[in-house]
């Protein structure tokens, strides 16, 4: 069930504490953050180019192929998580760098930058976990709370979950168009005119063609020209494996940020005209963190600090770790639940949630069949 919202007055002091934490961190933003993200970009480029090159040496020994795939997979993860996601939030706009700019950046993934900014930056970050508004809560595919009516189809949702994890970049890319298609199906039922989605379709197919061309035609073909036809398939499958590695990792990180057992949902009505403090409160209860070494934070794009990211989406990710301690202390002071745990613990809690809501609710079982 959705969580009731405390009054704006009761959250006033909490709001001020969090504003202060934000201001202190933003005052420090500068060269250190710029140098950090540039280093990350450089490492990503080395892994990207290196991975594609090492994979070619697979004709010599299969171990090179495995190494190349791993490098390319990691490059794609860093490109999407620590660089792409955070750049597109405007976290590094302060640098005024034309290639690290929130509006101009595009990433190595099937989802176009424009679509991502609309669905993720706007819908998801503004209406986080508001049922009916934040389509990221279950993606209109999974049932993750009893706010969604149970249907027999949800019995199999664990398989849907597996499928979505493997194909994650396509799920993200299709997300916005999917919403329009669902809406048009509703419109049709209600006899209303459909919403035009031709632009979204063009956007979707345009970007899809670009990523498919690169990974499954250009690079395999380039290598095949020099080393012969069998190499085409070696690079083809290598690129696909790298994409799948990225898909699994990205999906897992993102599920751990919003679908853990203790994450709360909210009703649309309660969020109307909410204060900044109430917004903060909702962001904290709608997100979950996990703990680990620095490398894990970087590889997750600092979404291991999902709570802090949702409070301050445009703060450079480099600052999230130092801010997290302060946010946690503020939550403890004001009695606001702060959701964190080990990576494994949070992951199993997600699986638990998916399984829990795939089962038919007991209340419904007791209701006698309607006449």
């Amino acid at each position: 069930m959705t969580t009731p919202m405390p009054s704006a007055e009761s959250l006033k002091a909490f709001e001020e504490d969090l504003n202060q934490i934000r201001d202190e961190a933003l005052a420090k933003v500068g060269k250190e953050d710029a140098d950090y993200i540039r280093r990350v970009v450089l490492v990503q480029r080395v892994l990207d180019l290196g991975g594609r090159a090492v994979m070619v040496a697979g004709f010599y020994h299969w171990a090179f192929w495995v190494l190349g795939v791993a490098m390319l997979g990691i490059a794609k993860i860093i490109n999407n998580m620590e660089i792409g996601h955070n750049i597109m939030h405007g976290q590094y706009d302060f640098m005024n760098d034309p290639h690290l700019n929130s509006l101009k950046y595009d990433w190595d993934g099937a989802c176009s930058g424009g679509s991502w900014r609309r669905t993720h930056n706007f819908e998801h970050h503004t209406y986080t976990n508001v049922i009916g508004k934040d389509r990221d809560f279950g993606y209109d595919v999974l049932r993750l709370s009893d706010d969604v009516e149970w249907k027999p189809l949800y019995r199999m949702q664990f398989l849907r979950y597996l499928n979505m994890t493997l194909m994650f970049q396509w799920a993200v890319a299709f997300h916005e168009l999917h919403g329009y298609i669902l809406r048009n199906m509703r419109n049709k039922r209600e006899g209303k005119a459909p919403t035009d989605n031709s632009e979204l379709k063009a956007d979707f197919y345009g970007k899809a063609l670009k990523v498919l061309f690169r990974d499954y035609l250009f690079f395999p073909g380039l290598v095949a020209i020099f080393l012969g036809w069998p190499m085409f398939w070696m690079i083809f499958w290598g690129n696909m494996a790298a994409n799948v590695i990225r898909n699994i990792w990205a999906a897992t990180i993102i599920y751990c940020g919003h679908f853990t057992g203790n994450v709360h949902t909210f009703a649309e009505k309660e969020c109307e005209g909410e204060s900044r403090g109430q917004w903060y409160y909702r962001q904290i209860l709608g997100s979950s963190n996990f703990e680990g070494p620095r490398l894990l934070h970087i590889m997750s794009g600092h979404l291991s600090r999902q709570v802090e990211h949702h409070l301050f989406p445009d703060m450079p990710s480099y600052r999230y770790n130092e801010v997290a301690q302060k946010v946690r202390a503020a939550c403890a002071r004001h009695g606001v639940p702060y959701n964190t745990g080990s990576f494994g613990g949070q992951y199993f809690s997600v699986i638990g949630r998916i399984l829990k809501y795939s089962r038919k609710p007991k209340a419904q079982t007791q209701t006698p069949a309607a006449a």
Binding site: V29, E32, H89, F94, R117, F122
Partner: protein, 371 residues
């Protein structure tokens, strides 16, 4: 940073862009390799020409000159033109426009140019530039631009400079001294005799070249530009082409005077000096907001402040936008010049060209926006 000139789209350029987007997720291939190139050449950039600041020397008062050796790709310039210099200060790339104060002839001989800059104590960038380049360093230069040039032909000229508005005229006078017998009279308005910029240099030019005349006018003793001055120092003013550069009110006043004295409009050339950074003042008065792309302009009233997004929409414009609370970054737009107040951080922006979020920005001075 506008090193790029819009070129007509051809099938080939469209394919090139598509291929770059597909392979490196950017419109240009160089952007992908930028981090590698920077390993060898720090501060190398895909836009503008990497150049070296050799040294900084103080001129009179609070004015200093940057001595710059432009990179090999930098094209030549004409006397009176300006250039954009970009430098990274504490992680942020700042771009400012300044007139080149040395002559093209000097550049041909030495490979050097100078930018003479007034350091405003309350300015953000001009004092930092001086400090940053104290021991030299790397900057990025745009190609020279501007049409405040010596008129073709051999008609006599009247140059009227106010304060640091002397910089384009210093370039012109030096250029004229090397190859021209043109009759030129420079009226230089200075606050007092002790802070006349380039006094010795200008005196020497006048001494050596009877056709080049320089008159210093002390505004503390003699007041601002007036009819009496013009007629006393330059009785044949109506037969000359007048060129004016200095603070905004001085230019406006002088233009009116000159047309009253019978100069037709095409005989009056002027350059509003200083890309706004130097002249900008923060007042509670009306601001003039120009939407460059759509060619619409409007004024804001201080008692009825609204976000630039609201202001644009009130003018019938429809900039891309989302959350309207500063979260989603869909309404980011390029501000060409002017100061905005960020309602979320409570801070004033920088005065130069940068990206801003329309929904949380309020005009704090005259603005030019790329909408």
């Amino acid at each position: 940073m506008n090193g790029q000139i819009a070129q007509p789209e051809t099938t080939l350029s469209r394919f090139h862009t598509w291929l770059a987007q597909s392979l490196v997720n950017n419109n240009e291939f160089f952007a992908y390799f930028e981090p590698f190139i920077r390993l060898a050449m720090p501060a190398w950039s895909t836009v503008g020409v990497r150049s070296r600041v050799m040294k900084v020397h103080s001129e009179t008062g609070d004015v200093y000159s940057l001595v710059i050796r432009p990179g090999r790709r930098w094209k030549n310039f004409s006397a009176g033109q300006h250039v954009q210099i970009s430098a990274e200060l504490n992680g942020t790339l700042y771009t400012r426009t300044f007139s080149i104060s040395t002559s093209p002839d000097y550049f041909r001989k030495t490979g050097l140019i100078e930018l003479s800059i007034r350091s405003k104590p309350d300015g953000r960038v001009t004092p930092m530039l001086k400090e940053h380049f104290a021991k030299g360093g790397v900057c990025t230069l745009s190609d020279a631009g501007g049409d405040f040039l010596l008129p073709e032909g051999n008609e006599p000229l009247l140059l009227i400079a106010g304060g640091s508005g002397i910089t384009p005229f210093r370039s012109m006078m030096n250029q004229l001294s090397s190859n021209s017998l043109r009759d030129v009279h420079l009226l230089f308005y200075i606050r007092n005799s002790s802070n006349a910029l380039f006094r010795q240099e200008l005196d020497r030019i006048a001494e050596l070249h009877p056709n080049l005349k320089v008159t210093f006018i002390n505004t503390e003793a003699e007041g601002q530009v007036c009819e009496e001055h013009l007629l006393r120092y330059c009785p044949d003013v109506a037969d000359r082409i007048a060129m004016v550069c200095g603070p905004t009110p001085m230019i406006q006043g002088t233009r009116n005077l000159l047309s009253e004295l019978g100069l037709p409009a095409d005989q009056i050339r002027f350059e509003y000096f200083g890309a706004a950074p130097i002249e900008m003042e923060m007042t509670g008065e009306k601001s003039f907001v120009r939407f460059k792309t759509s060619g619409i302009a409007t004024t804001t009233t201080p008692d009825e402040q609204m976000s630039l997004l609201d202001l644009a929409e009130k003018q019938g414009l429809t900039p891309q936008h989302g959350c309207r609370i500063g979260v989603c970054y869909q309404c980011v737009c390029t501000k060409e010049s002017g100061v905005v107040f960020n309602t979320r951080t409570g801070q004033y922006s920088d005065t130069g060209k940068e990206d801003i979020q329309l929904c949380i920005s309020v005009a704090a001075s005259d603005l030019e926006l790329n909408i």
